[in-house]
């Protein structure tokens, strides 16, 4: 008797069923591949194996090996091929088995893909996605947050959702976007975060931040896993300090939602930027500079940042936990801002 390897139902949208962040990404891929014949997937072990994290599980059975391609170990090759196919009107979604390996495709992404529309009027409607981030004892090459190297490259868009709903909605938006979108998925959130998918065609606009928690005293600007740490910190600060903390989940890193950031800083007058990426050259510096340029007069304290230490990410739990930002760090920083 054949065992069904296809998901029985295309989508949980509108059913009220809770699914994980990972399942939400898979659901987005399913819906978009069903909706648009030009969408196809390429990556290592994504077909027969269903992907290293099983994000693409079941898609080969449903869509066939022409649309779910098991590639050689060739990050340069598959990113370049995706660009070529995209020029011809297809909409490829490329998987980096771990986002750390996107470094291998850096030339192709920054020199070829990012510049194609500008210098050659050739669209690259493609998505490059992969599991990112740490707190999982993955060591230096399975835990990276490489967004900074791409955020500064004109021509790419970068998104990094924190919730299951946003993971689905932003994946759909990314696939439909006519430019290349880098879609960072936090592997620590894959199975820990759940959500109920909105009914209908749920698309989250790229370039719009989300207010994860409203507040009046301090603004925390963050993304991905540290959104949840910031929310934990906000709970503690409310309970222990009576502090009202606003948490902004950026969701999109390029282009940044300046409007939401500025409106919040003008409201609270105290800003803290938190990210899991390293301190030097990380996005926090960029955001601090923008706040400085656009709403300095509203600040009652310097803009602070809580980030990873500038070290390659170590494996041992004691080491990793020291290097990466923790909830207690965010609480400390917010208290310092409040007391300034």
């Amino acid at each position: 008797m054949a065992v069904a390897t296809q998901p029985e139902r295309l989508t949980t949208a509108g059913t009220g069923q809770e699914i994980t962040y990972l399942e939400a990404i898979r659901e987005a891929l399913l819906e978009e591949m069903a909706r648009d014949r030009d969408v196809f997937l390429i990556g290592e072990d994504i077909g027969a194996y269903g992907g290293a994290f099983k994000v693409t599980d079941g898609l080969l059975a449903r869509f066939g090996e022409q649309r779910v391609i098991d590639s050689p170990i060739s990050e340069i090759g598959i990113v370049g091929a995706a660009a070529g196919a995209a020029h011809m009107g297809m909409r490829p979604v490329v998987e980096m088995q771990f986002i750390d390996f996107i470094a291998n495709a850096y030339d192709m992404l920054t020199n070829y893909v990012a510049t194609a529309r500008y210098r050659a009027f050739l669209p690259c409607p493609m998505v490059v996605r992969g599991p990112s981030g740490g707190y999982v004892r993955g060591g230096p090459f399975h835990s990276q947050n490489p967004e900074a190297g791409f955020v500064h490259t004109p021509g790419l868009k970068v998104v990094y959702p924190a919730t299951a709903e946003d993971a689905k909605g932003l994946m759909k938006a990314a696939i439909r976007d006519d430019d290349c979108v880098l879609f960072f998925e936090h592997k620590y959130l894959y199975r820990r975060i759940k959500g109920v998918m909105p009914a209908g065609d749920h698309v989250v606009p790229i370039g719009k931040a989300r207010i994860a928690r409203e507040g009046t005293d301090v603004t925390i600007i963050t993304y991905a896993a540290t959104v949840w740490k910031a929310l934990e910190a906000a709970e503690r600060l409310a309970a222990e300090d009576g502090l009202s903390v606003e948490v902004i989940d950026l969701r999109t890193l390029a282009p940044l939602d300046d409007e939401t950031i500025v409106a919040s800083v003008k409201k609270t007058n105290r800003a803290l930027v938190v990210h899991e990426d390293t301190r030097t050259g990380g996005l926090a510096g960029e955001i601090c500079a923008r706040i400085n340029e656009s709403c300095f007069e509203w600040l009652d304290a310097p803009v602070l940042r809580v980030t990873a230490h500038d070290v390659p990410l170590p494996y041992a739990p004691a080491l990793e936990d020291f290097v990466l930002p923790q909830t207690a760090d965010i609480v400390l920083a917010a208290r310092r801002l409040a007391a300034y």
């Binding site: 196809f40 022409q66 649309r67 391609i69 590639s71 050689p72 060739s74 990050e75 340069i76 090759g77 598959i78 990113v79 370049g80 091929a81 995706a82 660009a83 070529g84 196919a85 995209a86 020029h87 011809m88 009107g89 297809m90 490829p92 030339d107 192709m108 020199n111 070829y112 510049t115 529309r117 500008y118 210098r119 050659a120 009027f121 050739l122 669209p123 004109p154 021509g155 868009k157 976007d177 006519d178 430019d179 282009p255 340029e293």
Partner: protein
């Protein structure tokens, strides 16, 4: 024992004998091959003249001595096929439909160049709907990168069941890149209809092939990818055509990738500034005197194919007139508006804003001159004007 590394291309060890598709070419087509080679050379000579007048900015790259390799290979393609040239494939671009005026405008940084002044020399393309585009995809400078991209272009042909073939050029140097390796390997294993042409011209900038690889010939690399390899004398335009046609036909039949190695020689430097001091004495002169692709082909045309000398001369005159007219037209074009630099990085938003320290120079640039189908393939005949609203320029 020579103390300086020997450079230069070697003779093909296993030139193809079996296939002779050129025997099916018409008389007009035989003469056309000469026309394209002559046009390539004359146009480049004109570019050198303009370069010396500083009307050409940036670098200038000649393909002197390689005209047969570029023209003969691209001649094997149909209009619906897609070709990706390198910097010394002007001949291939002209065969595929690029015009001299486009090339001149590119080199002279004109505002209505095919890339609106955003890319230099022959880094431009025209690809998309096979009915309305000429089917060539402009390169970027990092070598080898176009191979994975063309693997993807041809993968789309395969996925859609289209009767189209791709052809991508690489030089001897580019075969050392990771991008080349990954691209040809991916194309091969996915059975993409892609012809990979390795132009072995003896040098990558100053690096002779003996420093590039220990492989005896580049065609030897084909076996590593599991694909057939064909080698031909790159300075014999009909041999080039034959070898490429065989590879193109194989791709069109669904048999996947072929690696074609064309043996030729780079008679000029990497670019105009390169004085070729690293080339062994007499090597360039020997190739010029004994193995010029145009001289060899003229001898065949007037000999075995029975063309009259004045037919050849008529082509030369026609080419000169075309290049003159193209130069006049290109020189008449203006330069891009500065604010055009901020337009079209993304589909949405359509333009960047000037930074605060440039505000007040001019108002926003409109993109209303673009067709409603938005940013896509540059159309050669489309006039581009950027309007600056307000402004004090």
């Amino acid at each position: 024992m020579a103390t300086r590394a020997r450079g230069g291309a070697r003779e093909p060890l296993a030139p193809q004998q079996a296939a002779r598709p050129h025997e099916r070419l018409t008389r007009e087509q035989l003469l056309a091959l000469y026309y394209w080679m002559r046009l390539t050379r004359t146009l480049e000579e004109r570019l050198v003249a303009l370069y010396r007048q500083t009307k050409v900015v940036g670098g200038l790259f000649r393909s002197l001595g390689q005209e047969a390799d570029a023209v003969g290979s691209c001649f094997a393609l149909e209009r619906r096929d897609v070709m990706s040239p390198l910097i010394r494939n002007l001949g291939a671009m002209l065969v595929k439909g690029a015009t001299p005026v486009e090339v001149l405008k590119q080199y002279m940084a004109k505002g209505d160049s095919p890339t609106r002044g955003r890319e230099l020399n022959i880094h431009f393309g025209d690809v998309g709907d096979p009915e309305t585009t000429r089917g060539f995809l402009g390169q970027i400078s990092p070598l080898g990168d176009m191979v994975p991209v063309m693997a993807g272009v041809t993968l789309s042909f395969k996925m859609r069941g289209e009767d189209r073939v791709g052809l991508v050029y690489v030089g001897d140097g580019a075969t050392s890149t990771g991008a080349f390796h990954e691209g040809i390997n991916l194309a091969a294993v996915q059975r993409c209809p892609l012809v990979v042409v390795v132009e072995n011209n003896g040098y990558a900038y100053s690096t002779p092939t003996t420093k590039q690889t220990l492989a005896r010939q580049f065609v030897d690399k084909a076996i590593g990818y599991g694909v057939p390899g064909i080698q031909a004398d790159g300075n014999d335009v009909l041999a080039v055509y034959d070898a490429t046609k065989e590879a193109v036909d194989r791709a069109r039949r669904g048999e996947g990738v072929t690696l074609v190695e064309l043996m030729t020689y780079r008679r000029k430097g990497h670019a105009e500034h390169d004085n070729q001091s690293y080339v062994p004495d007499g090597e360039i002169e020997r190739w010029a005197a004994e193995n010029d692709p145009l001289d060899r082909y003229v001898a065949r045309l007037t000999g075995e194919f029975g063309f009259a000398a004045d037919e050849i001369a008529a082509v030369d005159a026609r080419v000169r007139a075309e290049v003159d007219a193209a130069t006049d037209e290109a020189e008449a074009s203006g330069f891009p508006e500065p604010l055009d630099a901020l337009v079209g990085i993304y589909a949405d938003p359509p333009a960047e804003r000037p930074l605060w320290f440039r505000e007040g120079i001019a108002g926003p640039v409109t993109t209303s001159e673009r067709a409603t189908d938005g940013w896509g393939v540059y159309k050669a005949e489309q006039k581009v004007e950027t309007k600056v609203a307000g402004g004090n320029d």
